[in-house]
């Protein structure tokens, strides 16, 4: 055996087992394991809720833009009227970034296809793929397209003046978020049933 092999063997075989004193000290440490923070579950719940609330935030942002549009369309401010005129007469694109509590922002790509018609593309709900929302702000109609699920939903929110109109918009936002939640659950149910029944999943909205 070469000397280096012998050194290697001896080093491998070195063994200094831990004493009972160390075992006792560690046992004492193990008895004082810090308990989970009582609010931790609540925090997880909040995080989950934030994610669920993302569609609402996104839809609210769309609605806010729409509200601003309708609120100022009476045109008391000359400068803003010029901006509105540009919105009404030109086609353009912009990116909307929505973030909550310093979380990773949700990016929405928006484009005004023709005066009064805005399209938003976003992926704010994991597992649902891209969601496109095409809104006609002239008559308050919107079309939601869930690309991955190949499902479309039409929303018709007639605009009312003042607070009632805002409430109607908020209600429609809540409807959309509920739809997103239902879509996630139902999509799971359908995919689970598919192999046994052999049926093609149908739109459930």
């Amino acid at each position: 055996m070469r000397p280096s092999d012998k050194i290697n063997k001896m080093l491998k075989e070195l063994n200094f087992p831990a004493s009972s004193r160390l075992d006792q000290k560690i046992a004492l440490e193990l008895r004082n394991i810090p308990q989970k923070h009582p609010d931790r579950d609540m925090q997880i719940w909040r995080m989950f809720m934030n994610r669920k609330m993302m569609p609402v935030s996104a839809v609210l942002a769309i609605i806010m833009i729409t509200i601003i549009y309708f609120s100022f369309s009476s045109g008391s401010n000359v400068a803003f009227a010029e901006v509105l005129k540009a919105i009404q007469t030109t086609s353009y694109r912009f990116t909307l970034s929505l973030s909550y509590n310093n979380e990773k922002p949700n990016i929405m790509k928006a484009m005004v296809l023709e005066p009064g018609i805005i399209r938003y593309d976003t992926e704010f709900l994991p597992g649902l793929g891209t969601l496109s929302s095409i809104s006609n702000i002239n008559n308050g109609e919107s079309l939601l397209l869930f690309h991955e699920k190949k499902i479309a939903q039409k929303l018709d929110s007639t605009m009312e003046e003042g607070f009632a109109g805002t409430r109607a918009l908020l209600q429609s936002a809540i409807t959309i978020s509920g739809t997103c939640g239902a879509l996630k659950t139902a999509a799971k149910q359908i995919s689970a049933e598919r192999p046994s029944t052999g049926l093609k999943p149908k739109a459930f909205l």
Binding site: P3, L11, E29
Partner: protein
């Protein structure tokens, strides 16, 4: 290897019951490593105690990205390096420990084995700490040079150099001891 992965996964998922299993699984390896590095068993146990105490206290917040074994070895190496300056070599104490834990049943063979290990420990205590550290991680820890370099935060060439010089010194010390 697989058990290490399971332990790491369980720890990362907040399973506090796994902590005692981790301790039982790694304690002897870590104490041996620290004792051979510091040439002092009681200090080595203090090192292992502080490493495990930290692991236990941060069980709800720490996420281990490498393996549990690598993480613990890194902690022991760093802790040993911190207290190395104040460490006193206790080779005699270690050799007594070796006699108690000898795997050899025949007394004559056990005596020869212990004599050799005592010589090795004495030679090891003469090798500089940095070189001793690399030799132990390579041979006792069964680690690759790349892994040792990552743990020590040193270039791989430096680690290989320390290993080569350390082993040469160890060999020459052992040969000269035998010639005596």
């Amino acid at each position: 290897m697989l058990q290490d992965k399971i332990l790491t996964w369980q720890y990362n998922h907040g399973r506090t019951d796994v902590l005692s299993k981790i301790y039982r699984h790694y304690k002897d390896h870590l104490v041996t490593l620290a004792a051979a590095m510091l040439m002092n068993k009681s200090l080595a146990e203090d090192v292992v105690h502080s490493v495990f105490a930290r692991l236990i206290r941060s069980c709800n917040s720490l996420k281990i990205t490498t393996s549990m074994r690598k993480y613990l070895v890194t902690c022991v190496v760093n802790e040993s390096r911190n207290i190395n300056k104040s460490a006193f070599s206790h080779v005699q104490e270690l050799s007594q420990e070796l006699q108690m834990n000898s795997s050899e049943t025949r007394p004559d063979k056990a005596a020869v084995e212990n004599e050799e290990k005592l010589l090795l420990l004495e030679a090891m205590s003469s090798v500089p700490f940095e070189q001793r550290q690399v030799i132990l991680l390579r041979h006792h820890g069964q680690m690759k040079f790349r892994e040792i370099a990552a743990i020590l935060n040193e270039p791989i060439n430096t680690v290989q150099g320390r290993y080569r010089y350390g082993l040469e010194k160890l060999r020459s010390l052992l040969i000269s001891e035998k010639e005596k």
